[in-house]
């Protein structure tokens, strides 16, 4: 039986396909903890496994099965009963999965998203999408008039996939009067929503109670947020960008058991005289003209070390925003290292011609990443060089990186910097 990890942001209807199928089949599918949309799925490590950088994505427990595309993942974690007993049944399941992707999904998004404020409202487009979806649902209604479920006389993956694809529409736009024209589809949808395996993933699907209304403020707000969060998502379609953003809100984050308090791995090393917190405070509050001399004045070469790190695969760095995600993603995974470490990591150059490198400082004389299993994810993608604190070119590197100036070895100009503190 399948066992593995599903990468997704919370409340992703595509991920529900696999999660529900797993409930039916008994497959052991866990949602990856600490997933951050736009970071985790853009990290070098993720892209190595899933080059498209999209979610949901699935990794089997033994790491041998890597899958993206929600329908394929759901198929993989399904039981034989969900997949269908013979080729004809399996083909029918596949037929409905393709039909959902091509006939339902685009129309549903184009109808629902403007009302959620995550796509611009254009009356004509919304009206067309509505007609398209209703036409498709009429076909489905005819099918379900004479059948209890989509394929054969039992629930299959076809029901799960079509159900998941229709969740947004039933929640937000298919109001009671419309549902009254789709009696069989509604009957079927309610039956699926009530099944125990579905409920354990989606405890309550509240059906749309009144015709949707468009709220221009909502869109303006979300569009405004987008700007604040930087240009990194600009090139993506509104659909892809906004849905996860909504899901990322803290109160909607999945409940994760709190990790037991862990001892700081740095505790095993002598404290020395350099106070990391004091330096960070100085660096944050003062100009580099002050904080860099302060650093050299306080630095304790006995108990602390300075390192130069260079990302090993600069040719893989396409877009600037991806590179920035790579850096912030790494920082996030190294969160517990913050207390006794500091770094300035910089991106040089622009789209399709860039490099990443940085200067790191931490307690101890060894590569700190070996101190904790949590820290091993990213560091191997970098070449690490220990710097001699007394050497003049170390002074220069520290100067350049801490003050975000200078160029990389190839002469690419400083573009952006991120501070780990």
């Amino acid at each position: 039986m399948a066992a593995g990890v599903l990468y997704t942001y919370p409340e992703n209807f595509r991920a529900y396909k696999a999660l529900i199928a797993a409930q039916y089949s008994g497959a052991d599918v866990k949602v990856a903890p600490n997933f951050v949309f736009g970071e985790t799925n853009k990290s070098a490590e993720f892209l190595k496994k899933f080059p498209a950088g999209k979610v949901p994505a699935y990794e089997s427990a033994d790491g041998k099965v890597l899958l993206s595309e929600s329908n394929a993942i759901a198929y993989y974690v399904s039981s034989a009963a969900l997949r269908g007993a013979d080729a004809a049944t399996q083909a029918s399941v596949w037929q409905w999965a393709s039909w959902a992707d091509s006939e339902l999904l685009p129309a549903s998004c184009a109808w629902v998203f403007p009302y959620l404020g995550i796509m611009q409202f254009n009356k004509q487009n919304v009206e067309r999408a509505k007609q398209d979806l209703l036409a498709a649902l009429k076909v489905l209604d005819g099918h379900l008039l004479t059948r209890t479920f989509l394929v054969g006389e039992r629930i299959t993956l076809a029901d799960i996939i079509v159900f998941c694809t229709l969740i947004h529409a039933f929640q937000h736009v298919l109001e009671p009067a419309t549902r009254a024209t789709l009696v069989s589809v509604t009957r079927w949808f309610n039956t699926l929503a009530a099944q125990a395996p579905v409920r354990s993933v989606l405890p309550d699907v509240a059906l749309c109670s009144a015709p949707p209304t468009y709220d221009p403020k909502k869109y303006a707000e979300l569009a405004g947020n987008k700007k604040e969060s930087g240009d990194k998502k600009k090139e993506k379609k509104a659909e892809k960008k906004e849905q996860p953003k909504k899901a990322q809100k803290e109160e909607e984050a999945p409940l994760e058991p709190k990790e037991p308090a862990q001892a700081d791995p740095f505790d095993s090393l002598p404290k020395g005289t350099f106070n990391m917190d004091d330096f960070k405070r100085c660096y944050s509050n003062e100009d580099e003209a002050k904080s860099i001399p302060y650093f050299w004045e306080k630095f304790d070469p006995e108990n602390y070390s300075i390192w130069y790190a260079e990302y090993k695969y600069p040719e893989e760095l396409a877009k600037v925003f991806m590179s920035c995600n790579l850096i912030t993603g790494m920082f996030q995974r190294l969160d517990k290292m913050r207390k006794q470490a500091f770094a300035s990591v910089c991106l040089f150059g622009g789209d399709n011609d860039s490099s990443i490198s940085g200067v790191w400082v931490w307690r101890g004389q060894e590569l700190a990443f070996t101190l904790s299993p949590d820290w091993q994810i990213d560091y191997e993608s970098y070449a690490w060089r220990k710097l001699d604190p007394a050497a003049p070119d170390t002074k220069q590197l520290v100067q350049d990186y801490f003050s975000w100036s200078g160029t990389d070895k190839q002469g690419r100009k400083f573009n952006q910097g991120k501070i780990f503190k």
Partner: protein, 173 residues
């Protein structure tokens, strides 16, 4: 056609794989059986008892809804068996309930569906194609119930050749 109910009890017992005792009518003409030295009276009560000895656990609500359907069936089935015009009205009521509900008691297969299927079998069997057309939801439900495991052990599934069904879903058997 009172024998109909005795036979239905036997079929339900077979479905749940439990003994039904000696089913007969007592002096008040009430269907009765004796199980574990206990006398049980009435169609609905006997059916619920069989389901529970078969391991079925019902919530209070499911129990009441099932009871209601079983009583309804017991009350009208004899008249429906005897009178085709009455039968059609009887089936149309059930059809109405199955328009919005996948199963008689809601969202999952229950003892009411199993019992109703056996009770209605001879009545549905007599319907003409046009009559079947007028109870599409009941046809949909019948087709579904008889496809469930262990339902068709003692009699063949009904052939539900309504125009609609045969156009949209060519018969599999």
């Amino acid at each position: 056609m009172s024998a109909c109910n005795v036979q239905v009890i036997k079929q339900i017992g077979k479905y749940y794989n439990v003994p039904v005792g000696t089913v007969c009518y007592n002096t008040d003409k009430v269907l009765t059986t004796v199980l574990n030295k206990q006398s049980i009276e009435g169609f609905a009560t006997i059916v619920l008892k069989l389901a529970s000895s078969g391991g079925v656990k019902l919530s209070q609500e499911q129990m009441l809804l099932s009871y209601q359907w079983l009583e309804h069936l017991a009350m009208y089935v004899n008249q429906a068996s005897a009178n085709p015009a009455f039968a059609l009205g009887f089936l149309k009521d059930i059809n109405k309930a199955l328009e919005k509900n996948t199963y008689l008691t809601g969202q999952s297969l229950s003892v009411a569906d199993i019992a109703a299927y056996y009770v209605l079998y001879p009545i549905v069997k007599r319907l003409s194609v046009t009559e079947l057309e007028s109870v599409m939801h009941l046809s949909r439900w019948t087709r579904h119930i008889q496809a469930q495991p262990r339902v068709c052990t003692s009699q063949p599934p009904l052939t539900l050749n309504t125009l609609n069904l045969s156009i949209l879903a060519p018969a599999v058997h």
